[in-house]
């Protein structure tokens, strides 16, 4: 599970990139076991005990899982996908924004 997320984190370890999860499992303890088993190395907000009805996903208008938002260095929402956009697209988005940062010299 989540092989592309893991490879992204690895590939971009030395770049100004962060993968932040928002997890909607109801049981936080069970989730910690999954995290260990699947080697999930990125940090996640917990959506709370209401699971998919929790406050963060509700505020962000998330109705399907997964839903992805990509923010640039300014914190601006640049891309969004409900459902996975595919590994290729995901890489394109992130690489585009990283290049943008490099060319504007905002390292």
């Amino acid at each position: 599970m989540y092989p592309h997320e893991r490879s992204l984190v690895k590939r971009l370890a030395n770049k100004p990139f962060a993968l932040i999860g928002v997890n909607s499992d109801k049981d936080r303890e069970k989730l910690k076991a999954v995290r260990k088993k699947e080697n999930i190395t990125w940090r996640s907000f917990w959506n709370g005990k209401k699971g998919t009805g929790g406050p963060i996903s509700t505020e962000w208008g998330v109705r399907g899982w997964p839903t992805l938002y990509v923010l640039d260095a300014e914190g601006r929402i640049r891309y969004k996908s409900s459902g996975s956009p595919g590994d290729k697209k995901l890489d394109e988005w992130i690489d585009t924004l990283l290049k943008e940062m490099e060319s504007s010299g905002s390292n």
Binding site: M1, Y2, E5, L8, K15, P16, F17, A18, L19, I20, G21, V22, N23, S24, D25, R28, L31, K32, R35, R43, S44, F45, W46, N47, G48, G51, T52, P55, I56, S57, E59, G61, W65, P66, T67, L68, Y69, V70, L71, D72, A73, E74, G75, R76, I77, R78, Y79, K80, S81, S82, G83, P85, K89, L90, W93, I94, L97, L98, M101, S106
Partner: protein, 265 residues
């Protein structure tokens, strides 16, 4: 006198024979149609059987590995049957059975050779079919370039206002989705207009799940004009992580951030 009688007889007999031939053709067509109907039902029966076998295998599977392996077989099953349904449709694409077979392909695939071929045939023969929404509603997520063109063609040619109304929302939703996936603000503005126009022209038309075109449009526009719209600075998130420690989204300012709403169920 004899010639006249003969002539009359011929005149009388000819239409009778035509009528007889017509009746035979009608019976032949009905039988043929019934034969073809069985072709769809036959294929569908085969598919349903294979699918329920997969489901029961899944239920019996004891390990996650086995479950994942079975999950992967579902799209493979669809891919296995798509050419069969397509072949059955090509035998008589104009017929209702042809429509059923083509719909099957378009509801189970999102792109590819068979998808495009099925779309071409349905566009050619069934653009005004009373059940066309079965096909159009599923085209929101299709990556095929033909999908939007097809939707526009149905909107133009279909006589039913309900169909037009529902498609107007599908088209607007497609624009919004593409704009978000391409990071295209111009297209996003186009999508907004499309929702506005849909509500103006088809507001009272019923739409599954949202209620009416007006409501579906209002919901989408609220999202597109709200704080998490494309191009807006993301609002703050401040909450606990999986270990109970509180952290903030704004701590990551200055980095490219991928926010992944996920779950393990």
């Amino acid at each position: 006198m004899k010639r006249l009688l003969l002539g009359l007889a011929v005149v009388l007999l000819v239409p009778l024979s035509l009528f007889a031939q017509d009746a035979t053709t009608n019976t032949r067509t009905k039988k043929a149609d019934q034969k073809k109907k069985s072709a769809f039902q036959k294929l569908n029966g085969e598919f349903q059987k294979a699918y329920s076998n997969l489901v029961s295998d899944f239920r019996k599977a004891k390990t996650d590995k086995k479950k994942n392996e079975i999950r992967k077989r579902i799209p493979k099953l669809n891919q296995e049957f798509a050419p069969k349904f397509l072949k059955a449709a090509e035998a008589d694409p104009k017929s209702d059975v042809g429509f059923q077979c083509l719909s099957w392909v378009l509801q189970r695939q999102r792109s590819g050779k068979q998808f495009d071929r099925a779309l071409d045939l349905i566009a050619k023969h069934h653009v005004t079919h009373k059940n066309i929404v079965r096909v159009t509603s599923g085209l929101l997520r299709s990556q095929s370039k033909k999908a939007s063109k097809f939707l526009e063609a149905v909107m133009k040619k279909h006589p039913d206002k309900t169909v037009k109304g529902q498609i107007s929302i599908t088209l607007a939703a497609k624009l919004k989705r593409t704009a978000e996936m391409e990071g295209d603000l111009k297209l996003y503005a186009k999508a907004e207009k499309a929702y506005e126009n849909a509500a103006a022209e088809y507001g009272s038309v019923r739409v599954p799940r949202s209620g009416t075109v007006a409501k579906a449009s209002a919901d989408a526009l609220k999202d597109m004009r709200g704080p998490r719209a494309l191009g807006k600075i993301a609002p703050e998130i401040e909450a606990e992580d999986l270990d109970g420690e509180t952290f903030k989204l704004s701590e990551y300012r200055g980095k490219v951030v991928l926010i992944d709403f996920w779950g393990n169920w």
